[in-house]
């Protein structure tokens, strides 16, 4: 291996799959070999069996749908508020000076700690779940977008000025298009975090969703179901990440080499 030397795409895929295979093999060895009690960790086959039962007999698809809707809903709300705000903060220094200290403080507030408060305010309905994700995502997006916009190459702005662009032209036709691919990348990253918030939101005061299923399964000591639920989250996350990357590539062909 040489530092930074590229590898073929075939080798890249094979190596990626290899780790999954080794991981499952280690898991199978630990469980089938009897090294870990079945009560605490189900073996891979039991996990698949219980997962299949969840999907066919217990309406788990509905839970998956509910969870996806909560993530997408809360995340979309956060993006709608945070992206414009971040752009304004990045472009206009007084707005940045006004908001940046508060946003920097607010983003360290753990979204999960708001759950009891949000239950008091918004009950245990959908609004509360959306708000957890909203709080968890909005401040992160604002700050990262602001940094991206204020880091737009200064010489591009100067070139636009010498071509007659004024304030609005600089904002709309230089700062925003220049930072758009990075903003899309920020959204992809934060969407990944939103997935961790939704499960926390569903662990408390919920009657549906993947997180709720996991809590139910804990009472039944159904570790196979819990693991199946966790894996489903991982797979959905992987798919959404892939879709996001694909969309970014399609939207911003110019940013690729």
């Amino acid at each position: 291996m040489k530092p930074l030397a590229p590898i073929s795409s075939g080798a890249r895929i094979a190596l990626g799959i290899l780790f999954f295979v080794l991981f499952v093999a280690g898991w199978a060895y630990a469980t089938f070999g009897g090294f870990v009690s079945k009560t605490f960790l189900a073996d891979p086959l039991t996990m698949l069996e219980e997962g299949w039962l969840l999907l066919t007999k217990h309406g788990f698809l509905y839970d998956i749908g509910i969870t996806i809707w909560r993530v997408v809903g809360g995340f979309t709300l956060a993006a709608l508020v945070a992206v414009p705000l971040g752009i304004l903060m990045g472009a206009y220094k007084p707005i940045e000076a006004f908001l940046e200290p508060f946003v920097s403080f607010a983003r360290y507030l753990p979204a999960s700690a708001f759950i009891p408060l949000l239950i008091l305010w918004a009950g245990i309905g959908e609004l509360q779940k959306l708000l957890v994700i909203f709080i968890g995502s909005v401040f992160q997006i604002v700050l990262m977008v602001a940094v991206t916009v204020s880091a737009v190459r200064r010489d591009l702005v100067e070139a636009a000025l010498t071509l007659g662009a004024r304030d609005r032209g600089i904002l709309v036709r230089v700062l925003i298009p220049a930072s758009a691919p990075d903003i899309a990348e920020i959204l992809r990253l934060v969407l990944g975090w939103a997935w961790t918030y939704v499960i926390v939101a569903e662990l408390i005061g919920s009657s549906s969703g993947i997180g709720h299923m996991i809590i139910d399964s804990q009472a039944l000591l159904a570790t196979g179901q819990i693991i199946f639920g966790i894996i489903v989250i991982g797979v959905i996350g992987l798919i959404s990440d892939f879709l996001f990357k694909w969309a970014n590539r399609a939207m911003f062909p110019w940013s690729l080499a």
């Binding site: 636009a160 000025l161 010498t162 071509l163 220049a178």
Partner: protein, 273 residues
């Protein structure tokens, strides 16, 4: 569209007047203020091609940025067509040393950028863009992104982008500095060809002596920091100029003289740092 002549064109009208303009950068972290440009007075005639020659750090780029309005003079004033310069504007097009094409726009849309900002209707815009794509020989690259172009092609597009806007003055800040020698020569010929046809007022900053002579109708030599203009030479080589002129005796004589002027400054600059 003056036809090429053997005698220098008339420079009766002063296009650009620079009066006692200086620039002192405030001190950073308790250091000393930096006098980048000594009070400078200068008049540039209409249709003139002026090159500003000097060692690195002599304030030649500072002067150009002041004219562009991207920086504000500490003292003095700059008048373009009798009106004071306050901030950047489309009447002073600029080509930078770094590649500043907008990476998200195709070549054609880059050239159209200034026209769009002006609010020019699309058909007229397209006509001008097509004209400039032809002028710089990039018609078949109209739908390419800047990343897909070589450095020379990018700078050609940047020149077209600035000129499509029809500025009163074209400012160029070492635009060919990052290009290889062969490409640089071709770019000089292209730029000179455009100037011989349009006779736009041009101010071109460079540290390359040959480039300064080949392009110019007038060469200004700047001294090492703090920068000031120490020599002002007319270049009466005939137009249209062919690259072979670089080996002519007149050219060599000018080159020898400017080499001497610049060498003194380069030595001073080297000792000063």
């Amino acid at each position: 569209m003056g036809e090429p002549r053997d005698v220098p064109v008339e420079f009766g009208v002063s296009k650009l007047v620079i009066e006692d303009v200086s620039r002192v950068f405030p001190p950073v972290h308790g250091g000393h203020p930096v006098r980048a440009l000594e009070p400078t007075t200068l008049t540039v005639g209409d249709n003139d091609f002026v090159t500003i020659l000097g060692p690195s750090g002599c304030g030649k780029s500072t002067l150009l940025r002041l004219i562009a309005g991207l920086d504000t003079p500490t003292t003095g004033k700059i008048l373009l067509d009798g009106k004071p310069v306050k901030g950047p504007g489309p009447d002073r097009g600029m080509v930078f040393q770094s590649y500043t094409l907008f990476p998200w726009l195709h070549v054609a849309d880059n050239i159209a950028f200034g026209l769009r900002e002006k609010g020019m209707p699309v058909p007229e815009r397209e006509r001008i863009v097509a004209q400039w794509l032809d002028n710089i020989g990039l018609r078949s690259f109209a739908r390419h992104f800047p990343k897909q172009l070589s450095g020379g092609m990018q700078q050609r597009t940047a020149i077209a982008r600035a000129l499509a806007n029809d500025p009163a003055v074209l400012l160029l800040d070492e635009p060919f500095g990052a290009l290889d020698n062969q490409t640089r020569s071709l770019m000089q010929e292209l730029l000179l060809g455009i100037w011989e046809r349009d006779r736009k007022t041009v101010i071109f900053v460079t540290h390359d002596i040959e480039e300064a002579i080949f392009l110019a109708s007038r060469v200004l030599v700047m001294s090492a920091r703090p920068g000031r203009i120490k020599a002002d030479l007319r270049v009466d080589l005939p137009h249209p100029r062919h690259y072979t002129i670089k080996t002519s005796p007149e050219f060599s004589a000018l080159k020898a003289r400017l080499t001497e002027e610049i060498r003194v400054e380069a030595v001073l600059a080297a000792e000063g740092h």
